[in-house]
């Protein structure tokens, strides 16, 4: 066990995988001598060299296309996209190609690439260094989507992603890269996909979140506890595959759900969760489902504090759900 930040845990996960298997390599912008703009690949260039920690020209489509080709040939590439906001030049390679290779070839050409990208707001990054667009990827059949919220999960989910057989979009909550620390098991620590983490047990309302919103939701749960409201907190860990059973079970118990994400509300992942609850837990619901999310605007610069969900807004929504009105 070591006490690490999230970004250090990502770094340990990468190191572990690269030591285990010479076929694992990293492609990205500034990942080499610079160690990545967030330092996630710090030290890897030194240990594994330029052949395995590859600084690419400035082209996300180049990174993804090349990673796909390498994966088809049997290597295990990990593509780093500097910010999730810059993934779109590679969107075609991801949604048209990576997601569909296995299916369209009848299973002849599985294509396992891990795409790592820091995502989310709260760093005063404005429009293009803040967005949470996980829903695009979760919406695309054939892609798995993992979003850790703790150092242990960052390493454990990353190692699971690297050992998976399918493409994984691995989104890292950059806002809490360094602010959240925790114990991380040494060695080949793996956290299974599709298994939500019960952060806190409760009986009055279920708060569902992932990534950087988990600490905010947890703080809200503490506030609520002081007011006599017992909130259960679930961290989804992976959106695809989704631990539907955990969400449904919890809401069957509490009868209330508050769904939280930074992404805009409309067609956000909370909409899918709400639909699942309406389909599978309808008769357990004691109050309308609530969503606390970003607004349906682009991600702002100066007003990001207005845009983002925070513990106060989450607690407020949970309170209204429990007390009505």
């Amino acid at each position: 066990m070591s006490e690490l930040t999230i970004v250090q845990a990502v770094n340990r996960g990468l190191t572990e995988a690269m030591r285990q298997d010479p076929d694992v390599l990293i492609l990205g912008e500034d990942v080499g001598i610079n160690g990545g703009v967030f330092r996630a690949t710090e030290g890897l260039f030194k240990e594994f060299g330029a052949d395995r920690v590859v600084d690419t020209p400035l082209s996300e489509t180049g990174i993804l296309g090349a990673a796909i080709g390498m994966a088809l040939y049997g290597l295990k590439p990990i593509a780093e996209i500097q910010f999730l906001d810059f993934i779109y030049p590679a969107f075609d390679q991801i949604v048209s190609e990576l997601a569909k290779f296995r299916y369209r070839s009848g299973g002849q050409y599985p294509c396992h690439v891990v795409v790592r990208a820091p995502y989310g707001g709260g760093i005063k990054g404005g429009l293009y260094h803040s967005q949470s667009t996980e829903a695009y990827f979760a919406h695309t059949a054939g892609l798995k989507v993992a979003i850790p919220s703790t150092p242990a999960d960052a390493k454990g989910l990353l190692l699971t992603a690297i050992h998976d057989e399918d493409p994984v979009i691995f989104l890292e909550p950059k806002r809490i890269y360094r602010s959240v620390t925790g114990e991380v098991p040494d060695g080949d620590h793996r956290v299974p996909f599709g298994s939500a983490r019960l952060v806190r047990e409760g009986s009055n309302v279920t708060l569902v979140a992932y990534g950087a919103m988990v600490p905010a939701v947890t703080e809200a749960a503490e506030t609520l506890a002081n007011e006599g409201i017992s909130a259960e907190v679930l961290d989804l860990r992976t959106l695809v595959p989704l631990d539907e059973a955990a969400v449904v079970r919890s809401v069957e118990k509490t009868g209330r759900a508050v769904l939280v994400h930074e992404a805009a509300r409309f067609c956000g992942f909370g909409g899918e969760l709400a639909a699942i609850l309406a389909e599978k837990a309808f008769f357990s619901l004691k109050a309308p489902i609530a969503r606390v999310t970003g607004y349906d605007t682009p991600f702002p610069y100066a007003l990001e504090h207005v845009y983002l969900p925070n513990p106060e807004k989450i607690a407020h929504a949970a309170r209204s759900t429990v007390r009505g009105g």
Partner: protein, 361 residues
């Protein structure tokens, strides 16, 4: 002015006639270059003090930007990246407006929606800059095609870096411009770095300019530290464009003296001595020497110029800092021309939160 001596421009018109850089505007150009340098110094220190959130300095690129901007006319459109502050200055954007953007206050014409350095000034035809690399390149071609269609005697110029030559839009943009003979000037500031990636690892072609050959039009390398040389090639490219002869790719060779941005630590990937060597050809120094030798400047007026620019910048920044903050409701503005019912509802939801004592900035 031309060599004959008639003044062919107003203050709003930064593009004088004549082939060489007009003698009577050199000092003014120098002042813009100094202004940009002073803004850089100030902005870096303001960022360290937490008074602005971010900054991407342009030190080392002043002659390239000012020289290019002087070769344009007001009716031309600029499609910038995030480092083109000096271009905006020469286009007539007030310092105060630039600082309003860096602060993100209520006076910012972009309403605080963007990170510092991502400017947009419609009156100066300085089109809104974004962070994603290269996207402006194809857009500049489209605007040029529109000018062509309207038979307007104007051109577009797009600014981008050496890194951007690897982007999809660079290749698509050059190809479109070639096919449609678009009146576009592609102005690449090769500052030798794309964050930590050196120019020679971005592409193995000997120059960036030679990439134009593959798209069937001229590519020119120019010393970007030489104001007049830059002015001349951009002016020629612009004239070629409006004469219907098609686009030109210009590679202005410069050096990024500062960090990529305030988030960057360049010592991780380059040595101070590399930078010191590049600084020997500081474009401000080169022009200063020339102005001194021509008698357009002396030691006293040089010092006075820096001081007056520093004072001007300090005043402009303080005014920007004193401006009221943005009304939080502007968050919901300009998503659409008319808010959708849903946005109107979310705006109401925000008001309700504030009434209940939440969500207040």
């Amino acid at each position: 002015m031309t060599n004959g001596g008639t003044v062919a421009h107003s203050d709003a018109d930064p593009a004088p006639e004549g082939d060489g850089f007009p003698r009577d505007r050199r000092l003014e150009a120098y002042r813009w270059m100094v202004t940009a340098r002073v803004v850089d110094e100030r902005a870096l220190s303001l960022q360290r003090q937490g008074r602005i959130g971010f900054y991407a300095p342009l030190s080392g690129q002043e002659a390239a930007q000012v020289g290019a901007a002087y070769a344009l006319r007001p009716e031309d459109w600029v499609f910038p990246a995030y480092r083109e502050l000096a271009v905006a200055l020469v286009r007539g954007v007030p310092l105060r407006s630039l600082f309003d953007q860096l602060v993100g206050n209520s006076a910012d014409l972009s309403k605080g929606t963007q990170m510092p350095n991502h400017f947009a000034y419609r009156a100066q035809h300085f089109v809104s800059a974004s962070s994603p690399i290269g996207t402006q390149i194809t857009q500049a071609v489209g605007a040029a095609m529109a000018m062509q269609r309207r038979h307007d005697r104007a051109a577009t110029i797009t600014f981008f870096g050496d890194g951007a030559t690897s982007s999809n839009d660079f290749h698509a943009g050059l190809n479109f411009a070639g096919v449609f003979r678009a009146p576009t000037v592609f102005f690449c500031q090769n500052n030798q770095w794309a964050i930590s990636l050196p120019r020679e690892r971005q592409t193995v072609s000997a120059t960036l300019a030679e990439k134009a050959a593959a798209y069937g039009f001229p590519g020119v390398v120019v010393d970007g530290n030489d104001l007049e040389a830059v002015y001349r090639v951009v002016r020629a490219a612009r004239l070629r464009a409006i004469a219907g002869e098609g686009p030109t790719l210009i590679e202005a060779q410069v050096y990024r003296f500062g960090p990529h941005s305030t988030s960057d630590d360049p010592r991780r990937y380059r040595t101070d001595s590399q930078v010191a060597e590049a600084r020997q050809r500081d474009p401000i120094l080169l022009l200063k020497e020339r102005l001194l030798s021509e008698g357009l400047l002396d030691a006293a007026s040089e010092q006075e110029l820096w001081e007056s620019v520093r004072a001007e910048a300090a005043r402009a920044f303080e005014a920007a800092e004193r401006a009221p903050p943005l009304d939080p409701h502007t968050l919901f503005d300009n998503v659409f021309a008319t808010p959708t019912p849903r946005l109107a509802e979310e705006r109401g939801e925000y008001d309700r939160l504030v009434r209940e004592g939440l969500g207040k900035p």
